[in-house]
Amino acid sequence: MNKLINDPADVVAEALLGIEAAHPDLRVDHQHKIVYRGDAPRRGKVGLISGGGSGHEPLHGGFVGPGMLDAACCGEVFTSPVPEQMLEATKAVDGGAGVLHIVKNYTGDVMNFEMAAELAAETGVEVLSVVTDDDVAVQDSTWTAGRRGVGATVLLEKIAGAAAEQERTLKEVADVAREVNANARSMGIALTSCTVPANGKPTFELGDSEMEVGVGIHGEPGRRRVPLAPAREIADLLLEPILADLPFSRGDRVITFVNGLGGTPLIELYLMYNEVAKILSAHGIETARSLVGPYITSLDMAGCSVTLLRASDELLQLWDAPVRTPALRWGI
């Protein structure tokens, strides 16, 4: 297992020590594995909390800071955090205006956040939850666990963070967050598996000329395995279901997000971005803003995902608002 780690059981705890050491304006609660904005709680501001399994870095700890999250609760690798963590974070970031939980739609995450919200309600903190489920690879059905939350989560945390910074009410921030999720669609592809440290071997085996289409961010196998294709065909494969699903239409303005899954270098992501941009312009869809890089990863998996967010002027303004976190920063 070619990883820069010590004991696999300590990966999350030790990475948190590194985050703390590297980012003096964040605060880390090592007992509860929570990354806090240094100046939380902010009086009058809605507190924004997210969290989930680790292994998706910079999500979520790298998105803590002014203009984005107030706290990130870090679970074990690919394992949702436990209710106690979210309860603790909720109490710590409440500045009197309530707390928004940003939850990716996985059974474990949803249940653990739900339990935390129930417990928080008992302490009197007002909590609303938003669940992201933007992954079009998964059939949406009341008979399944529903779609996964993937790339939209990054865009949502930024945009809701900006709304919270403007001291909007909890309901308003939650509405903006839901608007982002409702207008975002994603799809991902893997060229290699990832290796969970505690497991020590690749979660699935993929030949040198195969790929998994429709993967999430946990090394789950995708919807289907097909022969490796050139980037331009992969872009088609990713965009076709995305564009059809919302559906996106000629004239739409979007934020285009090409995300690396952790083991794919930036040069390939830019190359993919070019393919995506060509398809979008052929469809008359205008990229108003873009994001290219590894922002929601799956450990060392090679591959990428594409997220499109249909963005109103208001969402774009919130996107442009200053943000100062380890992984996203502009304007300050």
Binding site: T79, V82, G108, A145, H218, E220, P221, R223
Partner: protein, 207 residues
């Protein structure tokens, strides 16, 4: 189920044996989860049950099991943490202040635990989850009300194993495996596998 009552020591032994089995089968559980999930079920369950073992105690069955359930909820995470945690919490509530359980009380507590899992996770029969191993086991316990505890537990363990095996052919409709659609068919559910271990542990420790 008329013979024998289940002591608090036996219930403690049950949880210890479950912890032992989970560790013994850790890699198997993780490998099953790798095929249709995210390769952590063995790690998750071992982390949780190790913590349970360290904190085992309580004067009543209710206290014992609630403590264990809380520990699972606060150490496991993922889907299995809240589900197994809720199972034990509800089991404990059902048993209440009792310091030993009759076979019927045990069956009732198991049913309460299973209901807890359902109320948390909304699983239905043949969704390919832990429910599919646990539900037949609880039914066997209930059906065995008229016979011996040993017999009932053995029947429950067999029912759980059969339910676990039946998950192989199911198309997953809950949890991560549901993302795979048709590709989930042909793989045994990891949660059903650990649930069968829980019932097997009962059969070897409670009678």
């Amino acid at each position: 189920m008329t013979d024998g009552r289940i002591s608090i020591e036996q219930l403690t032994g049950w949880l210890l044996e479950f912890a032992r089995l989970v560790t013994e089968h850790r890699d198997e559980l993780t490998t099953l989860d790798a095929a249709i999930g995210d390769a952590d079920h063995g790690t998750n369950m071992e982390r949780g049950m190790s913590a349970v073992v360290l904190g085992l105690g309580g004067d009543t069955v209710g206290a014992l099991c609630k403590q264990a359930g809380m520990t699972l909820v606060s150490t496991v995470g993922g889907a299995s943490g809240p589900l197994y945690g809720t199972f034990l919490l509800r089991f404990g509530s059902s048993a209440g202040d009792a310091t030993e359980l009759s076979a019927a009380q045990f069956a009732a507590a198991m049913r309460a635990g299973l209901d807890g899992i359902v109320s948390r996770g909304k699983a239905e029969r043949e969704d390919k989850t832990m429910f599919d191993a646990l539900a037949p086991a609880v039914e066997a316990l209930e059906a065995g009300a008229g016979g011996s505890l040993v017999e009932a537990l053995r029947a429950a363990a067999e029912a759980a194993d059969k339910g676990r095996d039946a998950t192989v052919e199911m198309l997953a409709r809950k949890g991560r495996a549901s993302y795979l659609g048709e590709r989930s068919i042909g793989h045994q559910d990891p949660g059903a596998t650990s649930a069968a271990l829980l019932v097997r542990a009962a059969a070897t420790t409670l009678a």
